[in-house]
C-alpha cells in the first residue's frame, strides 16, 4: 500500500507580478521501505511540494490537489489541529541548514524532549532515556552529556545528527529529507547519508530524499522523480534513470555532470534545446 499518495498537486503564490505556480500538477507516491528521490534545480518546486504535504507553507500559498492521502487517510482537508498530530509523529522532516533549524536558545536535549512530550505518553524519565537512546542511534558520542549542549556548541554534522534524532524520535512511517547534506563537507555528507540509509532500512520507513545532487540520488534512491519548473519530467527506478533517461531534461542534467564530460567543454541546456530563460511561473 502506498504510504503517501499525491495526485495532481498544484501550489500557487500570489505575488505582485501575478500568480506564480511553483508546483504544477505533480503526482507521486511512496510505499513502505522505499527511498524516493525528488531531484531538480532551484525553482523546480521540489521543496515546496513536500512543504505543502507537511502543511508548513505560509497562508499565502494556495495548495490544490485531487487528493493527498497518507496511510489511506485524506490529509489535504484535515483541520490544522488534527494534522499536527500526524506531522512530526508519523511524518517527519529534516531540513537543509541543520544549524539554522535548531533553536539556539534551548539545549538540544530539550528540543527533542519537546517532540516526545507532544506526541507520546512517556514520563520524564522515560523521555530522557529515549533521548539518550536516540543520540546513540544517530552516532553522537557521549550521548548523556550531549543532552545539555546548545546547538552552537556542536558542529554542522552533529547538528544534522540531532535533527535526524528529532525526526525519528516517534518512529515515523515517512521521513522527508530536504537536502540533508547540502551544507556539509563531503566526508560528513557520506556519514550522514550512510546513517539515513541504515536507519531507513532498519526501521522500514519510507523516505523521500529531496536533492539537486545526482550523486546523492545515485547513492541512496530506489526510485527517482525528476522535476523542472514545477512539473514532473520523468519518473523511473534509479538504474533505468541513469542508464536510459527518457526526458530531454534528465539527459541534459546527466550530461552536465563534470564526471561525464567527454570533450573539453560541458554540454549545457541549450544543446538539448531546452529553454534557458529564468523561471517565471507563467505558462501559455
Amino acid at each position: 500500500m502506498a504510504l503517501l499518495d499525491i495526485k495532481n498537486l498544484t501550489v500557487e503564490f500570489d505575488t505582485a507580478g501575478g500568480t506564480l505556480r511553483a508546483v504544477d500538477g505533480v503526482s507521486l507516491s511512496v510505499t513502505e521501505r522505499e527511498v524516493l528521490a525528488i531531484v531538480g534545480e532551484s525553482g523546480s518546486g521540489k521543496s515546496v511540494s513536500m512543504l505543502a504535504v507537511m502543511g508548513l507553507l505560509p497562508w499565502t500559498a494556495k495548495v490544490t490537489a485531487d487528493s493527498i492521502t497518507f496511510l489511506g487517510r485524506d490529509i489535504l482537508n484535515l483541520p490544522p489541529a488534527e494534522r499536527r498530530r500526524i506531522v512530526g509523529k508519523d511524518m517527519a522532516m529534516i531540513f537543509q541548514e541543520p544549524v539554522a533549524s535548531l533553536n539556539p536558545c534551548f539545549t538540544v536535549g530539550f528540543q527533542i524532549d519537546e517532540t516526545l512530550k507532544m506526541h507520546t505518553d512517556l514520563n520524564n524519565r522515560q523521555r530522557r532515556d529515549r533521548t539518550v537512546e536516540l543520540f546513540e542511534a544517530v552516532g553522537l558520542p557521549n550521548a548523556s552529556d550531549r543532552l545539555g549542549a546548545f546547538p552552537h556548541q556542536m558542529s554542522g554534522g552533529q547538528c544534522q545528527r540531532v535533527m535526524i534524532a528529532m525526526a525519528i524520535a516517534c518512529n515515523p512511517k515517512l521521513l522527508i529529507a530536504d537536502e540533508p547534506t547540502t551544507a556539509l563537507d563531503v566526508t560528513i555528507q557520506r556519514q550522514i547519508l550512510d546513517l539515513l540509509v541504515s536507519i531507513q532500512a532498519e526501521k522500514g520507513m519510507g523516505m523521500i530524499m529531496i536533492t539537486h545532487d545526482m550523486g546523492v540520488v545515485a547513492e541512496t534512491a530506489d526510485r527517482v522523480v525528476v522535476q523542472y519548473k514545477g512539473r514532473k519530467m520523468e519518473e523511473a527506478d534509479v538504474l533505468s534513470l541513469f542508464e536510459n533517461p527518457k526526458s530531454a531534461y534528465t539527459r541534459a542534467l546527466l550530461a552536465a555532470l563534470p564526471e561525464n564530460a567527454t570533450g573539453d567543454r560541458l554540454p549545457t541546456m541549450v544543446d538539448f534545446s531546452l529553454d534557458d530563460a529564468p523561471y517565471t511561473g507563467a505558462r501559455p
Binding site: E41, S42, D185, V186, T187, Q189, R190, L193, A201, H212, D213, M214, G215, V216, V217, A218, E219, V238, L239, F242, E243, A252, L253, L254, A256, L257, P258, E259, N260, A261, D264, R265, L266, P267, T268, M269, P278
Partner: protein
C-alpha cells in the same frame, strides 16, 4: 619551460585569538608551510574541507592578507605587503572571484559601474574608453549590452557570477583566484560557468587558482591538484597523479566519500541492498 606566474615558499599564517579575562590566548596555525609553483595558462585546484586553510591561502595569494612567514612570488617578483604598499601594476595582476555572487556585488551599484570601477581606481583611462571596455567585457562573458544599466538583483545566480568574473577580468589580470566559484550554482548553470572559464583561459592565457570542495569539478577543470588538510598540503601533483594514485590517507577518504553517479556503482549498491 614556460613562465612561472605564481610561486610560494613555505607560507605560514597564524591567527592569534586574544586571551580574555578568564582564558589565555591561543594561536591557530591556519597554514603550515605551503610550497607551490604554477605555470602560465595552467589551473591549480585546491581541495579541502571547511577550516583547512584554503581560503586563507587564497587571501594571501590575492595579496589581501600577509603571510606570517614564507615568500610569495608573483611573476618572479617577491611581494611583501607589510613592507611596501602595492603598486597598481601588482594589484592588476591578481584578481579574485568569490563564492557567493549574491554577496559579492553591491546591490546599489549598476552593472556598468561595477565593471568600470576597477578602471577608475587602478587606471587612468577616459570615460568613453571605460564604457567601451566594460561593454566589450559584458558581451565576452555572455551577457547583453542592455544589462549595462541594470542592478544586481535583476540577475540570476549564474548571471551574477558572470558579472563577478567580468569585473575580475577588467584589468587584464595574469592570475585569477576562484574561491568556490560554482558551488552556489545549479548543475546546468555550473556547466555554463565552467565552459566560460575554459573559454576565457584559452583566449587570455589566464592562470587559475581554483578552490573547490567538489572533486568531480576539480577532476574536470584542473591541471594540478593540491589537497589540504588542517593547514598542510597533504597531496600535491598533477591531476592524473592525484586522482589515479592518491598517497595520503585523507585523500583516499575524500575520494571514497564522494558520491558516485555512474551506472556501475548504482548496480553494485542495489545488489548489496538486495543481498
Amino acid at each position: 619551460m614556460s613562465e612561472i606566474v605564481l610561486e610560494t615558499r613555505g607560507i605560514t599564517r597564524d591567527y592569534h585569538i586574544g586571551g580574555g579575562l578568564f582564558g589565555a590566548g591561543r594561536t591557530i596555525n591556519a597554514l603550515k608551510g605551503i610550497d607551490l609553483t604554477l605555470e602560465k595558462g595552467k589551473t591549480l585546484a585546491i581541495v579541502g574541507e571547511s577550516g583547512c586553510g584554503k581560503s586563507t591561502l587564497a587571501r594571501i595569494i590575492t595579496m589581501i592578507d600577509a603571510p606570517t612567514s614564507g615568500e610569495l612570488l608573483i611573476d618572479g617578483a617577491k611581494v611583501d605587503i607589510t613592507k611596501k604598499r602595492l603598486d597598481s601594476e601588482m594589484r592588476r595582476k591578481v584578481q579574485i572571484v568569490f563564492q557567493n555572487p549574491y554577496g559579492s556585488l553591491n546591490p546599489r551599484q549598476k552593472i556598468g559601474d561595477v565593471l568600470m570601477e576597477p578602471l577608475i581606481i587602478n587606471e587612468n583611462v577616459p570615460e568613453a574608453e571605460r564604457r567601451e571596455r566594460a561593454m566589450a567585457m559584458l558581451t565576452k562573458v555572455g551577457l547583453q549590452p542592455e544589462h549595462f544599466n541594470r542592478y544586481p538583483h535583476m540577475f540570476s545566480g549564474g548571471q551574477r557570477q558572470r558579472i563577478a568574473i567580468a569585473r575580475a577580468l577588467m584589468l587584464n589580470p595574469r592570475l585569477l583566484v576562484l574561491d568556490e566559484p560554482v558551488s552556489a550554482l545549479d548543475l546546468s548553470v555550473q556547466a555554463q560557468v565552467l565552459n566560460l572559464l575554459a573559454d576565457l583561459q584559452d583566449e587570455f592565457g589566464l592562470t587559475f587558482v581554483f578552490i573547490s570542495h567538489d572533486l568531480s569539478v576539480v577532476r574536470y577543470i584542473a591541471d594540478e591538484v593540491m589537497v589540504m588538510y588542517f593547514g598542510e598540503a597533504v597531496e600535491y601533483g598533477t591531476r592524473d597523479e592525484v586522482f589515479q594514485n592518491p598517497q595520503h590517507d585523507y585523500t583516499k577518504t575524500l575520494f571514497a566519500a564522494t558520491p558516485r553517479a555512474d551506472v556501475e556503482s548504482i548496480r553494485k549498491r542495489l545488489a548489496a541492498k538486495a543481498a
